[in-house]
Symmetry: C2
Subunit: 190 residues, 2 copies
DNA sequence: TCTTGCTAGCTAACAGCGTTAGCCTTAGAG
DNA sequence: CTCTAAGGCTAACGCTGTTAGCTAGCAAGA
C-alpha cells in the first residue's frame, strides 16, 4: 500500500518542519516509516533526491500562494501585496524556504515550476526582466536576512519592505505618478 | 612558536578557499598544522569558534573594501560603486561570503565590526535606515542568488544591478533629479 | 506444481564527521 | 629538585550517508 517515494518526502517534510534541516536524516525518515535507513535506497538514489523533492514542494507552495494573491488583487498595486505574501510564506515555513533557496537542482525540478514561481513577480513589474530580478533579489534578501536574524534586533522591517517596494514601484511605473519625494511621503503614511 | 589560534583560523581559511565549506574539517585543519584533530581543542572550544572567526574575517575584509571605495569616490553617486565593490568581494571570495552570511554569532564578533561594515551603505543612502536595509537586502539577494546560480543562465545581471541601484538612488534623492522615466533612461545609457 | 526472478525489506559494515577521556612529554616556576 | 600546566598524543563514542550481501514473499512461466 502507498507510494513509498511520496511517503519518504512527506516524512522528510515533517522532520524538516519540526526539527529543521539537521533533523532530516535518512535514519529519522526511515524510523518514521517503520523501516531501516538502507531500505530507503530501494526507492531513491541518495539524500540529494529527497532534498530536491522538498525544494520542488516549497517552490510549488510559493507559486500557489503568489498566484492566488495575484488573482485576488483588484486595482491595487501588486508589488506590496506579493511582497507580503512572499514574506509570509518564508516566515511560516522558514526551513522549507531555506531549502528552496539552496543551490537548486534544476534538472530534477518539475519542468516549468521555476518559471511559474517567478511569473507573478515579472507581471507585477510590467514585464521588465531586469527589474523583476532586482525585486526578487530584494525580497529574497529581506527574507533571508530576517530568518538569519541579521537585522539588528528591533529594526523596523516593515519600513524596509515599504521603502523597497516604493522605490521599485516608482521605477516600474516610470514616474507617471510623481516624483520620488511624493512617493516617499506616501510610503511613510501607509 | 606562533599563535596557535591564529594559525588554526588561517588554515581554516585556506581550506575554505580551495575546497569550500565542506573541506573545512577539524581533521583537515589539524593536518595542515602537523598535529592531530583532538589537539585543536586545547586552543578552541569547538568548530563553531572557527566558523565565527572566519565570519569575522570576512566581515572585516568587506568593511575594508567598502571603506576604501567610499574614500575613493569623488562627486559621483556612491550606490553603484559600493554595489560593484560588494559584488566583487562576493565573487572573489564566494565561500567566505557565504560564511559571512550565515546566522552570525553576534556575541563572538569583534565589537562594532558589524556596524562598521554597514556604515558606508547607510551613508550612501543619506542616513535613512529603512532604505539602507532595503538596499542591503537587495545587494545580498543579488549576490547570493548569483552564487547559487539561481538566475537563469545568461541573465543580464549587470542590468538587474543597474535597475536596483537606479530605483534606490531615485528614492534616496527624493526625486530632485527628475521622474522615474528619465532615471530609467539614464540607467539604460550607463 | 515447481521454479524462477523481482521487490523490498533486513543486518553488518565502512568511511568520515565532531568531540571526549585519559595518558605522556616537555618547559618553566618555586 | 620538584611541581604544575601546556600541548601534544591514542583510543574511542555516537552520529552521518551509503554499500554489500542476504532473505522473505509474491507473481509469472514452463
Amino acid at each position: 500500500m502507498g507510494d513509498r517515494p511520496a511517503q519518504i518526502v512527506a516524512a522528510a517534510r515533517e522532520l524538516l518542519e519540526c526539527g529543521g534541516p539537521e533533523a532530516v536524516t535518512m535514519r529519522a525518515i526511515a524510523d518514521r516509516l517503520g523501516i531501516r535507513a538502507p531500505s530507503l535506497y530501494k526507492h531513491l538514489p541518495d539524500k540529494a533526491a529527497v532534498e530536491a523533492a522538498l525544494q520542488a514542494e516549497g517552490l510549488a507552495v510559493l507559486a500557489d500562494m503568489l498566484e492566488e494573491a495575484e488573482a485576488g488583487l483588484g486595482g491595487e498595486p501588486p508589488l506590496p501585496v506579493l511582497a507580503e505574501v512572499f514574506r509570509r510564506f518564508a516566515l511560516e515555513n522558514p526551513h522549507l524556504y531555506r531549502i528552496t533557496g539552496r543551490p537548486l537542482a534544476r534538472e530534477s525540478l518539475p519542468e516549468g515550476l521555476e518559471a511559474r514561481a517567478a511569473m507573478p513577480l515579472v507581471r507585477a513589474v510590467g514585464g521588465d526582466p531586469d527589474l523583476a530580478r532586482a525585486v526578487w533579489a530584494f525580497a529574497h534578501g529581506m527574507v533571508i536576512l530576517e530568518l538569519d536574524s541579521r537585522f539588528p534586533p528591533g529594526a523596523d522591517l516593515a519600513g524596509a519592505w515599504r521603502a523597497g517596494c516604493t522605490a521599485f514601484a516608482a521605477y516600474a511605473v516610470g514616474g507617471a505618478s510623481g516624483s520620488g519625494a511624493t512617493l516617499r511621503a506616501r510610503a511613510q503614511s501607509t
